[in-house]
Amino acid sequence: MRRHAALLAALSLCLALTGCWQPVSLAERAVVKMICVSLHGEQYEVKLAAYVAADGDAESQGESKTVFAEGRGDAVRTALLDAQEGIQQQAFYAQNELLLVEEQAARSRLQEILTYFSEERSSRPNMAVFAYRAEEEEQLLDKENIEKTVENLEKMKNGDSVRGGLTQMIYRFDLKGERQDFFLLPRLQAGEEGAVETDRLLFLRGGREVLSLKGEEKTLAELLLGGAESYQYQNGEDSCTVSDLRTAFSVSAQGTPQLSVRLSGEVRDAPAGCAPEALESSVERRLEETFSSLYQKCYLEQELDPFQFGWWFETRDARRYGALLREKKLFGEDTLSFDAVITVDP
């Protein structure tokens, strides 16, 4: 028994080897909460927002203040090191969940930036990545509202926000382009007092933006990508929420191979006095029209498959999928059909 205990105690040395050595107290750390990356000419420019103990010592009773730092360099790493020079405390990245990339930098260097952060041990592979417009940088990093902005962005990332939309984490990007040859990135729009929402979905390929979705198309795209669970329908004065949205896939058994996508959902807050049948057909028509335009832009014009319809096709009928792929007819006018089935709960 004594041997057993002694050996277990000795093996527990491993715990000491995994980071409990040379501890750095919280007061000596600057907890990075947001990283903004942009380009300044050919150089990277990095801006950090970090929380530090309010009075810089261990007696701060948990209060914190935000410090900002910026740096430039030929690579993201050197820019970050340069930025760290501006903070007295030791920068701590393990808590950071937000990476904001300026639109121009995202277009031309997103792969490089994400590869760096995916390989960097001290950062997290589940950081949420957003694009932002250069003119909004000041508002996003506004000293007065930074804590609210960070809180809202973290809520958005964790799906706690009403206006969440799609968030993309680093590990969702196929950095080597083996399965997808494009990147999909939500773009932020900053509002008053730290309010944030995504206003566009950017599709980047080969160092340029090939498509940008907004409005209804963006909403439907987010639904199909699993980034939203309900759909807000607005028609003049009338509005309602379609919830319990589900997507079902099937491939026609005979004739021309065709993938059928069906989106179903339920309206529980129909406007008073509104005929259920009329509302159903009106919501369905809107969704089908939006899908038609989305399909045109993504699949027919740009040959992008963001919703992985190809995968659903292949898993349901690999033989016919293979044939269509060989003939380069996978996504055409007649290889995909979409319909929406909405029911109104009176």
Binding site: L17, W21, Q22, E178
Partner: protein, 342 residues
């Protein structure tokens, strides 16, 4: 030999399983996984079947095989080959453990601190005897299973069915993966040697061991692909990446917790291999030298570790596989011959 000196088959199963499974987790020198689960999982099944075929000739002769081999010169040569394989594997494991620590840790511990620290631990554990190690292995086994369970549960929300790649013609890739992926873990040699310490000299049930390894590999591969998809191809250690992604409730990162348990398993592997070398040395060294067996084991493991630190052989796993397979086949041959002769 009293019962206190014996270990159970279950304890030996834990030792060998942990030693083998930790190799799947901690792969700092391996290439990133660039094949889908659809290919890797059948390839692993075929590889484990091949492993079973390699170990089958030893089957009936396994009980007392090492003892019988120690009685003849050719047999002793086989034992030397086994000891050398285990020592080289120990050297590689030392470097892998240090590499893993550097990869996961916030601060970098010099190899020259790490080496004496771990070697002292190995020396102490081997000196205590395999009985103590075997009892501890049960605790590490439970911790390890908990760790894997937590990795899976904490990543449930991140899984996406569409991340599973589908290949219409996976056979060529599977055949390629079988060729590239076959490896013989020296921990199996340790299992054969240490089975002498079990009642009736029988080691862990091979079928159970291979089934457990397959189940673990299946879980690792599926969860990695379901969560990471194409991102996994850029990762050197996909399972560790999962540990960094998954969080439970307010605990957003649990990777330090996992890496400490995995490191325990890695050190346990070193100890298990060291204990096997020490037993082999008892059969190989003259009686008056046997009291130095433990020190010699730790010293030679350290020397191999140091050698590999300065020049790590890229094909070490292939060499260890070749040496391990050869040793098992020769041991079976020598043991059968000796059994017939007696």
């Amino acid at each position: 030999m009293g019962n206190g000196d014996l270990i159970s088959r279950r304890q030996l199963f834990c030792c060998v399983y942990l030693s083998m499974v930790v190799e799947m987790l901690i792969k700092p020198f391996s290439r990133p996984v660039d094949l889908p689960a659809q290919v890797l999982i059948p390839a692993a099944a075929v590889n484990l079947l091949l492993l079973w075929l390699v170990l089958t000739p030893l089957g009936a002769a396994r009980s007392g095989a090492v003892a019988r081999a120690g009685g003849t010169l050719p047999g002793r040569m086989v034992l030397v080959l086994m000891a050398a394989t285990l020592l080289l594997s120990g050297g590689g494991t030392l470097n892998e453990a240090n590499g893993f620590l550097s990869f996961t840790g916030d601060w970098q511990l010099s190899f020259f601190w790490f080496l004496p620290l771990v070697l002292a631990l190995v020396y102490y554990a081997v000196r205590l005897g395999i009985e103590g190690v075997a009892r501890v292995s049960g605790v590490v086994f439970v911790l390890f299973l908990l760790s894997i369970g937590v990795v899976v549960i904490s990543n449930l929300r991140e899984m996406r069915l569409q991340n599973l790649a589908v290949e219409a013609q996976p056979f060529m890739d599977t055949a390629k993966a079988v060729g590239q992926g076959f490896s013989f873990s020296p921990a199996l040699l340790a299992g054969i040697v240490l089975s002498e310490k079990t009642q009736r000299g029988r080691g862990p049930r091979l079928a159970h061991l291979l089934a457990a390894l397959f189940a673990t590999y299946f879980v690792f591969t599926m969860v990695s692909e379901l969560v990471l998809g194409g991102f996994a191809t850029a990762q050197r250690q996909p399972v560790y990446t999962l540990a960094r992604i998954g969080g439970l409730s307010v605990f957003r990162r649990l990777d330090s917790l996992h890496s400490s348990i995995w490191l325990m398993a890695l050190v346990l592997k070193l100890v298990v291999e060291g204990a096997a070398v020490e037993l082999l040395l008892r059969r190989l060294l003259p009686a008056r030298w046997q009291k130095y067996g433990v020190a010699l084991t730790a010293g030679l493991t350290g020397a191999a570790g140091l050698l590999f630190h300065f020049s790590f052989p890229t094909g070490l796993r292939r060499w260890l596989t070749a040496a391990g397979v050869l040793a098992v086949l020769l041991l079976a041959l020598v043991s059968r011959k000796e059994k017939k002769r007696v």
